[in-house]
């Protein structure tokens, strides 16, 4: 039998299928999020099942997580992304003590105990300044593709100082920086540093290594380095960082099925 995890995030939906006994991944997929969340999740779920050579009858249990978890009708139950990311990261990197997850709409810092259980967590407030949304706004404002931001930032010699705690105000700052002739690479590097500093503020004083970086923003090159600089500690990007929430959900589904 297999178990499924569906992570209905604010930007993308991710599905992971695992073997219930071995917990090995047997299938995975991703699609953009949209208005019809349930339909999109269900469609992706069927597609991943088909590509894995499985049918719905083979699925023993399904757990949904993520921002849109309650809209996923095919799930047997829902579990928050905080618990799911912790479980997913622990599976991939068992020594991890801190998980930083930066998604499209929010960011989280999860502290784990030695057995991988959540000890404590913090999430960003209503402001999007510490999230992937900030990068999206920046990309649009600079007229570049999101996946080129990392490359741009790598060329920065003098990252711009972005002082606003709010994305809307920060966008105004970017406009001002452009008007002053600041290079795009320095603006992107400044935005990445601003996101990292928001995470550091959220983390408080105690952050225990090893630190694992997960979520969609972990794939943006330069972000892990920005976090590392801000935290003053090594930050490791999780393997398949977008999938850790869905993987954790699938593992929890398997656990509940036992």
């Amino acid at each position: 039998m297999i178990c499924a995890g569906i992570d209905a995030g604010s930007r993308t939906i991710k599905v992971v299928l695992i073997d219930t006994d071995s917990l090995e991944i047997v299938g995975k997929g991703l699609t953009d999020q949209g208005v019809e969340q349930d339909k999109l999740a269900s469609g992706l779920f069927k597609k991943v099942l088909k590509s894995s050579g499985a049918t719905e009858k083979d699925v023993a249990a399904t757990v949904a997580t993520g921002y849109g978890r309650n809209a996923v009708g095919i799930a047997d139950t829902t579990i928050t992304e905080i618990t799911c990311h912790a479980v997913g990261v622990h599976r991939l990197m068992p020594t991890a003590r801190t998980v930083i997850d930066i998604g499209g709409q929010d960011s989280k810092l999860v502290r784990l105990d030695g057995s991988g259980k959540v000890r404590d967590f913090a999430m960003n407030d209503r402001c999007a300044a510490g999230t992937g949304r900030f990068l999206e706004v920046t990309a649009v404002r600079l007229g570049v593709e999101l996946d080129t931001l990392g490359k741009l930032a790598a060329g920065s010699r003098r990252p711009a100082a972005i002082s606003s705690m709010c994305v809307v105000f920060a966008e105004t700052e970017i406009t001002g920086l452009l008007a002053c002739g600041t290079g795009r690479e320095d603006i992107v590097a400044g935005v990445q540093a601003a996101i990292a500093s928001r995470i550091v503020a959220m983390a408080g004083r105690n952050i225990e290594p090893p630190i694992v970086f997960t979520g969609g923003v972990a794939m943006v090159s330069g972000m892990a380095a920005a976090l590392q600089t801000a935290l003053g500690q090594t930050v490791t990007v999780a393997p398949q960082p977008q999938m850790t929430g869905a993987l954790g959900a699938a593992i929890l589904a398997a656990d509940r099925n036992r």
Binding site: Y67, S115, K117, F121, R126, G204
Partner: protein, 468 residues
């Protein structure tokens, strides 16, 4: 006990009301179905879930008819006193006079929530330069300007100094608008120096005797002002009698809190407990009725505890709640997410502790006022929270910030770190504006995650199968 306890919607309350009425429920003058308040503009009531007892109905009706009560008091020739910021000391004095009704204008901070922003009070405050960078208590300013929510008091008394920066600024603006305020000063409470004469305040905190003396002298001034307004002297005997009545309220609340926070299963919802606790600071404009309302509620809760009945699942995560919420619905949300409130610190613990009755009455009130958590350090607050978390057996702490409120911004992190270090329990900080509808999913995620964390810890402690 009126019925099998459960949380019900406003529509279900209409049915329940008819059922209770047919069964002979005795109602006070301000009784009636809860849904009638929606017609007055209290739209938020449609989205809340309530305890289904007659005692809870009386509590809600008592709260939601305060404006009528104040207008009746004015018609009856009583002097109306608005007691601002001190949260629980001046009302004790004011209610010693037969011809005075006191109320808490700061309580207007809930109007934008209850009326779902349709009242326009925050916009009025905006237009007066008190914008959203201030605590939602700025709604009070709007209420004074529109005059639509309470009669303009004959006298306004407000504590300043080491109280609340937002309220002080708002009250000063109010003063500038032509509402004279009688100010009295609250010093920042400090630890006594070595060999300095000290006094143990209610709640167990030590303070220098000279600070108690100072607050006492300030309360002497307040007393004199009240005497002048009432045209009556307030002697020690009358003041002692007033303290005794205030202590009855506090005694009821102490038992209610103990039962609500420790009994299994939870005998009363968090929302009704929040409303009940708030009565300690202002008596909802009628001290005698406050005692009756709390007495009936306590009787209901005692009955449920004795019968082993509750309103929530027995395995609900035990959460200690810090700071009152601007949106009442969030108390429902905690329970919807699988939590229950096991202990609270709503910034007025000094109004819940018993007023000493073995010292002269004004000295007793001074000690109480100086025990105000807002007047001391964040460390004092955190230590009290830690002690109460242990006392009530809470498994996690939820710090609910009020947007714009300076105390929350300054103290949240300090409390969070001290609690986490001292007790090793998960601590969650959330921010709750007056209407949370648009951010309900993110609030839900945080609270659900806290509940999941508590349950995973429980399983680990109990040594049964882990979360994974």
């Amino acid at each position: 006990m009126t019925d099998a306890p459960e949380r019900i919607t406003l529509e279900e309350w209409d049915v329940q009301y008819e059922k209770l009425r047919r069964a002979g429920m005795r109602q006070p003058q301000y009784g009636g179905p809860l849904s009638r308040h929606v017609e007055d503009g209290d739209h938020r009531l449609r989205k809340l879930r309530y305890d289904n007892s007659a005692a809870a109905l009386r509590l809600w009706n008592f709260l939601l008819t305060e404006e009528d009560r104040l207008r009746e008091a004015r018609s009856a020739g009583k002097k109306i006193v608005g007691t601002m910021k001190d949260l629980g000391t001046v009302p004790v004095m004011a209610y010693c006079f037969d011809n005075v009704a006191a109320f808490y204008p700061d309580g207007a901070w809930w109007i934008p929530c209850v009326m779902e922003l349709s009242d326009g009070l925050l916009e009025v405050a905006d237009s007066l330069g008190i914008d959203e960078s201030f605590c939602p208590v700025r709604a009070m300013l709007g209420a004074f300007v529109t005059g639509a929510h309470f009669p303009i008091p004959d006298m306004l008394i407000c504590s300043v100094g080491a109280t609340c920066d937002d309220l002080s600024a708002i009250a000063q603006r109010l003063n500038g608008l032509g509402h004279p305020i009688f100010w009295w000063e609250m010093p920042h409470r400090r630890c006594p120096e070595q060999d300095e004469p000290a006094v143990i305040l209610p709640g167990g905190i030590a303070a220098p005797k000279c600070q108690v003396e100072f607050v006492k002298s300030e309360l002497e001034r307040v007393k004199a002002a009240l005497e002048e307004l009432a045209g009556e002297r307030l002697d020690e005997e009358k003041l002692s009698a007033g303290i005794s009545q205030a202590n009855r309220v506090r005694q009821y609340l102490a038992e209610l809190r103990y039962l609500a926070f420790t009994a299994e299963p939870c005998p009363i919802p968090a929302l009704e407990m929040l409303i009940a606790e708030m009565l300690a600071i202002h008596f909802c404009s009628d001290r005698r009725e406050t005692i009756a309302v709390l007495g009936e509620l306590l009787e209901e809760v005692r009955g449920r505890v004795n019968a082993g009945l509750g309103v929530l699942d027995a395995d609900a995560a035990r959460i200690f709640w810090v700071n009152p919420v601007a949106d009442l619905q969030v108390m429902n949300l905690l329970e919807d997410c699988g939590g229950r409130v096991c202990g609270t610190e709503y910034l007025f613990t000094h109004a819940l502790d018993m007023i000493p009755q073995d010292v002269p009455p004004l000295e007793a009130l001074a000690r109480c006022a100086l025990a105000d958590p807002m007047a001391g350090s964040s460390i004092d607050r955190a230590e009290r929270i830690c002690a109460d978390v242990r006392r009530f057996g809470a498994e996690a702490v939820l710090i609910s910030r009020i947007p714009g409120a300076s105390h929350c911004a300054l103290e949240g992190q300090v409390i969070s770190e001290i609690v986490a270090e001292t007790l090793d329990v998960p601590v969650l900080e959330i921010e709750v504006p007056p209407v949370t509808d648009s951010m309900s999913p993110t609030l839900r995620t945080r609270i659900e995650a806290l509940v999941e964390t508590v349950r995973a810890r429980r399983r680990a402690t109990q040594g049964i199968r882990s979360d994974r």
